[in-house]
């Protein structure tokens, strides 16, 4: 391992940097898992779909393995909105953290 490629900020030991990176990694993984679960259950999982027409089959039986266009655009929009909300909430939290809550 090459020594001192990127100098750590002052007052941060290597273990602390490792801990922060680990926390960040866990946060990222959790975000990804939650995002894909949310958009899957909203767009693809027929059990939780609320539509005007009745469901043709109950349960998770799929007719084809590929995403059709409706599901594709639904997932596009879902991910985009989730990401926007995530960024917005992060901004508000970081801005609100400067005042006492």
């Amino acid at each position: 391992m090459a020594a001192n490629n990127s100098p750590l900020p002052a007052g941060v030991t290597k273990e602390q940097a490792f801990g922060m990176a680990e926390t960040e990694m866990e946060y990222r993984v959790e975000l990804f898992n939650r995002l894909s679960q949310t958009c899957f259950s909203k767009c693809v999982d027929k059990r939780h779909v609320s539509s005007g027409l009745h469901l043709y089959f109950y349960g998770s039986r799929y007719k084809e393995s590929e995403l059709n266009m409706g599901e594709n655009s639904c997932i596009d929009r879902c991910v985009s909105k989730y990401w926007l909300v995530n960024g917005l909430v992060g901004q508000m939290l970081s801005a609100g953290g400067q005042r006492p809550m």
Binding site: C43, S51, G52, L53, K63, E66, L67, N68, M69, G70, E71, N72, S73, C74, R77
Partner: protein, 143 residues
């Protein structure tokens, strides 16, 4: 998990223009075939003493050809409009439903009969919507 080629192929197939062009071509082929069939049925070989057998054959072939071509254009347009409408509606609604098929059928029927006036357009819309919903249910049941 799908491979990169499969995902790219799926992206290509999801493009509305490509999909409707493909449907137009398939509709054109169907129109040619149907025009052939109907032209052959409508012009039976009669024993005309004026024309020789070869001339009669050529005459029949020309009739079949012109009928095939007009049918081909009609069906190609129908397939194109239907597929384009269904694709656009499904992308806008972000749902895979039977209402996409019904509304697309209505648009197609209305567009095809719009020349004959608004009432004909309404009938064409309703009729074609019902027809396309039936065909969709039939296909879904057997696939």
């Amino acid at each position: 998990m799908p491979t990169v080629e499969e995902m790219r192929a799926q992206e290509v197939w999801n493009n509305c223009a490509i999909r409707s062009a493909f449907s137009g071509v398939v509709g054109g082929g169907l129109g040619i075939f149907m025009g052939f069939l109907l032209g052959a049925l409508d012009n039976p070989l009669m024993h005309d003493p004026d024309m020789s057998a070869k001339k009669q054959f050529i005459f029949t072939a020309k009739q079949m050809g012109s009928r095939s071509w007009s049918n081909c254009k009609t069906f190609a347009l129908m397939g194109l409009v239907f597929s384009a409408a269904e694709c656009v509606i499904e992308k806008a609604r972000a749902k895979h439903d039977v209402t996409n098929t019904a509304v697309a059928g209505c648009v197609t029927g209305g567009a095809m009969s719009a020349r004959a006036g608004p009432q004909a357009a309404c009938y064409g819309c309703a009729g074609f919507a019902a027809f396309s919903v039936l065909i969709e249910k039939f296909i879904d049941r057997h696939s």
